[in-house]
Symmetry: C3
Subunit: 361 residues, 3 copies
């Protein structure tokens, strides 16, 4: 808007990211089609996934800056989970239902315990006690709590042996439709988003550098590439799990969950390191909302529409219980209004304990 000096379309970090993505995709493809060792293929495709996730994020940002912060948020909601969506679809195609279920819950746990804990730890050690709790952050916490609880009801219904037990599929579908409806309702709320408390502070605000065509083009290419790489990732996952003796639950809960959210996680921790605790908190808590309101219900519906291995919202009992506990704890920490590095360390320890519980196959 204001007259600025001409800025380059591609800055150094952009070039690095584009180049790295291209290189990793080629290597991961070679590993997949060339029959390289599954461990190596797995690591390469995981790395390619992470870089692609970063690329999607960057092009959405370049695109969204033209339409205001609200639109960017909505685009991010819609596209940010694209890589995870692809991984889950291919995993369902391969019949790895338990991996997908554990990955969905694991993404939420990783955000609420591991990433939040690391953000508190890093932020607290560098900047002392951090303030949380702007009004908007509190609204996000409440929405997160409510949407995750709603997602947990089919599991409770099933494991507590109610008559609805035998209607697992139908009930999961109904709940999925309601959750997607809530997501649709939340769009105007997100679009009216006030930049001041959920976006990076003004001094970090940048004008879009990429022309629209380039942003759309990169996004399209990255999305298509993400679909391919997801396939290779899932193909390499099974032999890697067998080789390392890892259970399906642990692979989903820890490995897929962390690989699928790698970039978002790093962003949250970086923001905390810069002292932007409020913004870090928003980023970290927004992800569980998207998983509960979009990713999980979408996968349930897609699995039944496209005849993949049937995914329902009936998760294993321990997954549901730790999910509800983690949500309650995160909510109370948020309502507390402050964070210290010791709270961060305790959150990380709690994550480690829960991950250990799923180690044994």
């Amino acid at each position: 808007m204001t007259a600025t000096t001409a800025r380059p379309v591609l800055i150094r970090s952009d070039k690095l990211l584009l180049g790295g993505a291209a290189a990793l995709i080629v290597l991961a493809g070679l590993a997949n089609y060339g029959g390289w060792a599954s461990g190596l293929g797995f690591v390469l495709s995981a790395a390619a996934m992470s870089v692609l996730a970063a690329l999607v994020g960057l092009s959405v940002e370049q695109l969204g800056d033209r339409f205001g912060p609200g639109a960017t948020g909505v685009l991010q909601s819609a596209l940010g989970n694209l890589p995870e969506l692809f991984i889950c679809i291919f995993a369902l195609k391969a019949g790895l239902v338990e991996v997908v279920q554990a990955a969905l819950i694991g993404s939420i746990l990783a955000n609420l315990l591991l990433v939040l804990g690391l953000a508190f730890l890093v932020g607290g050690l560098k900047h002392g006690t951090q303030k949380l709790g702007s009004e908007r952050a509190r609204t996000i916490v409440v929405l997160m709590m409510l949407s995750v609880t709603a997602m947990a009801i089919p599991s409770l219904t099933y494991h507590l042996h109610t008559p609805a037990e035998t209607h697992e599929k139908t009930f999961s579908l109904i709940v999925s439709v309601i959750l997607l409806g809530l997501f649709a309702l939340s769009l105007p709320f997100s679009l009216r988003r006030d930049r001041s408390d959920t976006a990076p502070p003004p001094h970090e605000k940048e004008e879009p550098r990429w022309p629209i065509g380039m942003a759309v083009g990169v996004l399209a290419v990255a999305a298509v590439a993400a679909a391919f790489v997801s396939d290779w990732f899932v193909t390499a996952l099974e032999p890697a799990m067998d080789a390392a003796g890892i259970s399906e639950a642990f692979a989903g809960l820890v490995i897929v969950a962390i690989a699928g959210n790698a970039i978002e996680n790093v962003v949250g921790i970086q923001l905390a390191a810069k002292g932007e605790s409020e913004y870090a908190f928003s980023v970290v808590l927004n992800s569980p909302i998207q998983i509960a309101l979009v990713l999980a219900p979408l996968l349930v519906i897609l699995s039944q529409v496209f005849g993949l291995a049937t995914l329902t919202l009936v998760f294993s009992p321990l997954l549901v219980v730790v999910l509800v506990l983690a949500v309650m704890l995160a909510a109370m920490i948020a309502l507390d209004g402050e964070s210290t590095w010791l709270e961060g360390a305790t959150l990380v320890a709690l994550y480690a304990i829960i991950a250990t519980a799923f180690w044994w196959g």
Copy 2:
């Protein structure tokens, strides 16, 4: 107290209410004794119950205004649940234990999720973000949380297969006596109630219009009528359930719970629509306290004293789990200090999901 111009004893809305009540009671009576279709009888007696509840509320208000807001609150606590008490007694007499248990929990859930959600939704859409959280509202939240948890302990004890499992009746009686004792203790707290944060703001305050004799008379007649209509309601409930293929749990959780609290519910939502979010919140949260501290324990004791179908505080596992979750969520939303229409929509969606879980018989 101040010199006012003469005001009429009966204003237009009073006449309408008294006339409507009389007409509905006569129709419901005809339906019951005349062998009308059970569906029609059920609807008529439900409507008559609602109008009688409103009448009890109005006469208590006219009576209570003479003794100050504290006394009104106590009278409302004591008499406001009268219609629900009658329905539950007749349902126990008819052996519908599951209906009664589901109705007790359902009343709490309907208040904490459906009514609170609608109040947030309506208030938020009309007035933007609403403030909650006066000191008194917070005390009510804590009491609600503690009393509902206390009521849930016998169920936990039973379903977790402790040795106390075989002492279900005795344990429920002991807990009921403790809960009633807590209610007695809370009376001085309620009597010292400060009008400013739990009663309608001054501009809505009205002088009592009815002479004492009329208020007492209407109250007595309405109470007796409520007893009769409750009987007819329960009589019509069973064939209506069968005809519509509704399970006992769903009938209690949704239909009886909503019909028995219809007026209170409407009042809470109306207050929110007027922007009186604090007062609406108090009204909505007060009802679960009364159910946990008075209605449920009283019914347990009455069922054993009068040899009705034995009611204990051992509810079905899903009822207890959703109860504890709903209470925690409502408490955290209250401590959050604000409400938005989106939170309201999410609460309503959560209620819909829980109700669906009980749909299948």
Copy 3:
């Protein structure tokens, strides 16, 4: 530091405590070796334990005042639970695993419900609504919540029949090591403790009266005596339980838990009576943190290292559920920021209901 008039080394209450401790230890010893009635021996050794706990507390205080409030806190963390540690070790030696497990959870419940409730009740009745919620108190609440939840994970893992079920011992050991690690991490936090909000207000601050040698000496003698008396207490416990028809769970949850924390409990309630609600709250909430981060994990490790009856962190289902509920309730009451006597009464009632649930063997 400032020039004060010479103060006596031993004031009247010190003499009383030392004399009382000596007398009670002798009597308890006679009861144990002289074969007195087990009920009398039990009461005498319980009384001796309580007085020894007070003595340990006093000598730690006299010692700690030389090194600042932080060091006192750490010393109290390390030594304050010494009597309870001894009792649990002897109980494990006697094979009373269920008593030890119930005592660990019971200590937390007694603090969070009974003692907190009595503190609110006494403080509220004497001083009206009490304020809580300094920043430090909130941090303690969050730590308490997180550490207790971490301690609960092995039980959840076991009772929800996950594959980790068969690795009960290993998993409990891993969790114990992590919890002790968290305790070590929390030491710098405790050492930097700001006197202003966790220590008694200045007018109660006293200069150390005892010479260092005496403080160390009393501490050493009290610790050795505590070991002996713990042995006698446990020896008398079993026949006393049989005679009174009390279950292992109830004996641990109520009797051992209250006897082992008698002094701390009295201190918390006394502080509330003086109107020091913030400090009372800190004292009461600190104890569950120590149990979860030190006492429980230490006992798990010791039981396996020294070949006592194996203690794991797998508690009975009802113990775990009421533990998690109590922690959530206490946390929300703390975040609420205020307490009233009615909340106190409700907490006490909730404790009574839970204790009753464990009454039946």
